[in-house]
């Protein structure tokens, strides 16, 4: 077991290097460096520009800058933001709980709706329900997040006024962050009004971010269930005289979950990518919005650090899914 984790962890090193290098190079391909962007149209004398660049080390050759950065990362220093002058790690950790809260709710939404929908669609294969679920999930999967979010805001927030337009919490409330998760923090201080407000604010972003994973989970569950329902051991289960609930919900689902859990795990990457767009649409104060702002400000250290940390999260979750896979699938557990 330990060996398995260590092997997997050692594979992460080249991934980290690749991610860092890519981010490092790509952001530098964007025209305008941090100083030009900050100065804007006012203009600045070439001497001052060169001086600022020298102070930030931007006049060094690229390979030198990269090695310096990697050196910093290896000693645990992700640098400081060029804009706020706060340590990147600290900024990230302040904002990350908001993103996790949103991503978690989106995944919960996708699983709670997608699993039953996929199961029922498979059991009632060829029915109107099946066709409906598959049609909707194809639509959901192809829905551009940006457009979908705006549509929902227009309908539910602007026209119907059911949900807030943006943000995490109504301006009426202020809750001191303890865990950073608004739903938990509001309950910790016993502010139920604030809790409802936080929940209200979560609804639309959750739906928007959860739509694509929902579509994927529903389709995957359906196809996995269809395959499993045709297996001999399902016939055996029926031959025991078990009722459909037990045959489908226990014997079939247990086997179908193996690929579905893998897919859910892989969705975490998509989810954090989607969070960047969703947070921007809903002004959600998470790392996604922060990363977009960092790009606009050419805040190199913030962007590099943020991408690296998100990549680490995705890889950690994937590792976790691999371990969970062994728990779900006895054939793998015992192969070791």
């Amino acid at each position: 077991m330990l060996r398995f984790i260590l092997t997997r962890a050692s594979l992460l090193i080249p991934t980290f290097l690749g991610v860092t290098l890519l981010t490092f190079l790509l952001i530098r391909l964007v025209p305008g460096d941090p100083i030009e962007v900050r100065v804007g149209e006012r203009g600045i004398s070439p001497e001052r520009l060169a001086q600022f660049r020298h102070e930030l080390g931007l006049d060094q050759p690229l390979w030198k800058q990269f090695l310096d950065y990697i050196g910093g990362v290896l000693s645990g220093d992700l640098g400081t933001s060029l804009v706020t002058h706060n340590p990147v790690l600290q900024e990230f950790l302040t904002l990350f709980p908001a993103t996790i809260e949103l991503a978690f709710m989106a995944m919960l939404f996708a699983s709670v709706v997608g699993l039953p929908a996929g199961i029922v669609a498979a059991v009632k294969r060829g029915s109107w329900f099946d066709h409906g679920v598959m049609g909707l999930s194809l639509t959901g999967y192809s829905m551009p997040i940006f457009w979908w979010g705006l549509l929902l805001i227009l309908l539910f927030s602007v026209n119907l006024g059911w949900t807030p337009v943006s943000g995490r919490l109504d301006l009426l409330y202020y809750v001191e962050p303890v865990t950073g998760f608004m739903l938990i923090d509001t309950l910790l201080v016993g502010e139920y009004g604030a809790f409802w407000s936080a929940l209200e604010h979560l609804i639309l972003p959750t739906v928007v971010l959860g739509t694509i994973p929902l579509a994927v989970v529903a389709r995957m569950t359906r196809s996995a269930m269809l395959e499993v329902l045709g297996e001999d051991y399902i016939r055996t289960a029926r031959a025991k005289g078990l009722n459909s609930r037990r045959v489908v919900g226990l014997h079939a689902l247990r086997n179908a979950l193996i690929p579905v859990v893998t897919v859910i795990g892989l969705q975490v990457g998509t989810l954090l990518g989607g969070a960047i767009l969703t947070e921007t649409i809903f002004s959600w104060p998470g790392v996604g919005k922060w990363l977009i702002e960092s790009i606009n400000r050419r805040d190199y250290p913030a962007l590099q650090g943020g991408v690296l940390l998100i990549a680490s999260t995705v890889m950690a979750v994937n590792l976790l899914v691999d371990l969970l896979y062994g728990v779900l699938n006895p054939r793998i557990r015992h192969a070791r």
């Binding site: 016939r235 055996t236 025991k240 005289g241 247990r254 086997n255 015992h334």
Partner: protein, 326 residues
Amino acid sequence: MPLLDIQNLSVAFSTRAGTFRAVDGIDLQVDEGEVVGIVGESGSGKSVTSLAVMGLIPSAGTVIADRMSFAGTDLRTLSRSQRRRITGKDVAMVFQEPMTSLNPCFTVGFQIGESLKVHEGLSGRALRHRTIELLEQVGIPAPESRLSAFPHQLSGGMNQRVMIAIAIACNPRLLIADEPTTALDVTIQKQILDLLVGLQRDRGMALILITHDMGVVAETAHRVVVMYAGQVAETRSATELFERPRHPYTGALLDALPERALGRRRLPTIPGVVPGIADRPQGCLFNPRCPRAQDRCRAERPALLADDAGRARCFYPLNSQSEVTA
């Protein structure tokens, strides 16, 4: 009154090419404690018949019968939940492929205990005790340590023993074994067959043994039903059938037994295959493959007619009285 009494059972599947009768008007009676062998090639409707008895025909299929009763209960009128109380308890089944018929995600102990839990409400220590007892009865060594084994950790023969343990868990009155040894090594086949017959004798349960192996039938069955293309071709007691088969199909199956082909260089075979959905012939369904077919066989479909010792579906049967005297 027979334990299982089926009259004029048909199972039809609607396909794109039209309705296909996998089972076409068969009668089947099984007495308490009797061993009935059902033989026939692949596609002759043996498995579909047994699935119909179990109530396991998928929803795409339609089951029609003039009579279908088990121990006096009319199976046709039962609700689904009433039917489930019989399936797996009074009527149980062992399938062909032990490696795929057990759920890979659950332990052997769980899968055996499940029937006991559902049908007899056992739990805890009593459940564990019964499960171990069952594993012992089907000849699995060190049963206590096997409880937590998963199917992939056991061999095919062991898994088939587990399947049998599941089937006999609730002391069924009728056990249906659908080609229980086909997927196993030859050396294991004999053991599994002996186990089944031993259990049948000890418990006095009825056994329907489905196989395409005439040799297996000869060793075990009291009575034999020969099926062809969804119909009963011939039925009589095992001794009668082996001594004096009437239907040419039965005769051909017996001729294909290695034991009966002594002195010949090649084993005789039956040319052609069982007719499927699109190529059902006029007249007798067996006529294109029958060496004795005549014009009448190609025009009319014979009925299942009674003779002195059983019934056969043939105009010109082998070994019949008239032929013997002629």
